[in-house]
């Protein structure tokens, strides 16, 4: 048959030429999931696993004083990064705990005033699942939609606030699509209405300037391991004046952390979090610029080499190191399989246990097929231009080969409208 095409020679993933200089495999480019601890941070922590082992709550001997001093230094370092005062920082085990403490603690404390909480659909599960739990306890939760670019509409927020609203919780920057919400405006609106404003700022702190004063933030969650610090440590900022925010403790015990979070402090972790914040504060501006350039360079390479590339989320209000992109007509998991020496994430259902594609991408109104094709790149402090080149070239190669295999790509190229086909859903 003359018009029969054969691609028996398709080879998806072959061992290619020797690696370029400066590239070693595997490459880590999933810095929204976690970050590698900065060696400088690790160095500051090490003594606190050894000789300096005191309990920061031991008030009557030098071992305790030394530990306490280290903790208070870290508190200052963290506060400085976000424009807070040291007394407003509460140490926790991480941002999931911080979010739980903020939402449950405020809901409980202000129950007399009202029972309404406002959040948004693209929050992290640490906020969404906590809200669901609060709903079971009789609280009313409004989940604001987002627009196609991932930003909430401030008018929606204005309309949602009523006389029973006690708390608004909107994340600073999204962990999947990197979109930065209009935090200062949201905070201003909340303050005008006398509502407490909490933000999950895990992806933002240390990456972009965050200032609790300018941003009108009352309560803020952050985590160590997202900014080149250790895992298992985080903090909650709780505003002490204008307005003073009170939080019902969720863990009872020795009354640590001004009674808001009992439990012996994780001194090495806290020291590491402090050091990580100090370094981030010093390097953020230059590093953000560097990552943004690399990100834009990678994006341009994809857009030049491939058709049907869909960039997800507003690119103006965007974390410098984030690129969430759909290589349409190629399924995400099969793409990850072809780049198994590169660590990135996909919003494809096949990469999750639920067989549902990313709820964040779906909230943007993307078709499931576009969500299935998405890859999240998370550039970080330790990624190099050589790595970005290697990763983008490899991606372009594998996407091209998988498209040779894709009946959808072939049909679209032939001018067939995929939406007109009656697909047999399964």
């Amino acid at each position: 048959m003359s018009n029969e095409m054969s691609n028996n020679g398709v080879v998806i993933s072959e061992s290619t030429a020797p690696l370029p200089a400066g590239v070693t495999l595997p490459i880590y480019m999933d810095n929204h999931a976690t970050t590698q601890i900065d060696p400088r941070v690790l160095d500051t922590m090490l003594p606190y696993f050894g000789k300096v082992f005191g309990n920061a709550a031991s008030r009557n001997h030098a071992f305790g004083w030394e530990a306490e001093q280290a903790v208070e230094k870290a508190r200052e370092q963290i506060a400085k990064l976000i424009g807070a005062s040291a007394k407003e920082i509460i140490f926790t085990s991480g941002a999931t705990e911080s979010n739980n403490l903020a939402l449950k603690g405020i809901a409980e404390m202000y129950r007399e005033r009202g029972n309404h909480i406002i959040t948004q659909v693209t929050e992290h599960k640490a906020v969404l699942d906590t809200c669901k739990k609060l709903e079971k306890q009789g609280y009313r939760v409004t989940y604001l939609p987002v627009q196609a670019d991932g930003l909430i509409d401030l008018e929606d927020l204005k309309r949602a606030i009523d006389d029973k609203t006690i708390l608004v919780s909107i994340m600073y920057a999204n962990n999947e699509i990197g979109v930065i919400q209009p935090i200062a405006e949201i905070g201003k609106l909340c303050h005008e209405k006398g509502v407490i404003f909490h933000t999950d700022a895990v992806q933002a702190v240390g990456k972009i300037p965050v200032d609790v004063q300018k941003d009108n933030i009352d309560v803020l969650s952050l985590s160590g391991h997202k900014l080149y610090g250790p895992k298992g440590v985080g903090a909650l900022y709780v505003r002490r004046r204008n307005p003073r925010v009170q939080i019902s403790e969720q863990i009872n015990g020795g009354g640590h952390e001004r009674g808001m979070r009992s439990g012996t402090l994780n001194v090495p972790g806290i020291v590491g979090l402090g050091a990580a914040c100090e370094i981030a504060g010093q390097e953020m501006e230059a590093e953000g610029k560097r990552e943004k350039e690399l990100r834009d360079y990678m994006k341009a390479k994809f857009e030049k080499a491939l058709d049907y590339v869909h960039v997800n989320g507003n690119m103006e209000h965007h974390l410098p190191g984030n690129l969430n992109i759909s290589f349409v007509y190629v399924e995400g998991e099969s793409l990850l399989m072809g780049i198994n020496d590169i660590a990135v994430s996909s919003g494809s259902a096949c990469t999750s246990a639920t067989l549902e594609p990313s709820y964040v991408l779906k909230a943007l109104g993307l078709g499931d097929d576009v969500a299935h094709s998405s890859i999240r790149f998370g550039l970080g402090r330790f990624n190099t231009k050589a790595e970005v080149d290697y990763v983008s070239d490899k991606l372009i190669d594998v996407v091209s080969k998988l498209r040779e295999l894709s009946p959808l790509y072939e049909m679209v190229k032939e001018g067939i409208d995929l939406t007109k086909i009656e697909w047999a859903a399964h």
């Binding site: 048959m1 029969e4 190629v330 072809g338 096949c350 067989l355 894709s406 009946p407 086909i421 859903a425």
Partner: protein, 138 residues
């Protein structure tokens, strides 16, 4: 998730990738799955009208590695088989051959569906009734 060696082999070197002339009376085309489910398979067969033997098979798949492997394997298996022999291929054979984990069983089901859809299309084109096909095979 760890993939079996056979899945990786089919993914890296997919067999019988391509397209045949849909309009040809000798060709049967099966298009199954849906983009929003993350899996679409197109499997085509070319049948010898004299012998009812599938002489060639081609596929294209949008889906995960297991879906690609399942459809690639399906094309290998149907080649050289009669229509009725091909209809006897079941998804559990594919699961076994590729050592698919439980979450990937739907990929094998889709591959079986694709074989059946391609054969159904060929039968429809050639006005082969179900019973007639069986008679020929016997």
């Amino acid at each position: 998730m760890a993939y079996s060696e056979k899945v990786i082999d089919h993914y890296n070197n997919p067999r019988n990738v391509g397209q045949m002339d849909k309009a040809s009376s000798e060709v049967g085309t099966g298009l199954v799955g849906a983009p929003e489910c993350g899996d679409v398979m197109r499997l085509q067969i070319r049948v010898n009208p004299e012998t009812n033997v599938i002489e060639d098979a081609k596929f294209k798949t949008f889906g995960c590695g297991s879906a690609i492997a399942s459809s690639s394997l399906a094309t290998e298996w149907v080649k050289g088989k009669t229509i009725d022999e091909a209809l006897a291929i079941s998804n559990t054979d594919i699961v076994k051959e590729l050592a698919l984990p439980p979450v990937k069983i739907h990929c094998s089901v889709l591959a079986e569906d694709a074989i059946r859809a391609a054969i159904g299309d060929w039968k429809k084109k050639n006005s082969v009734a179900e019973t007639a096909a069986v008679a020929v095979a016997q």
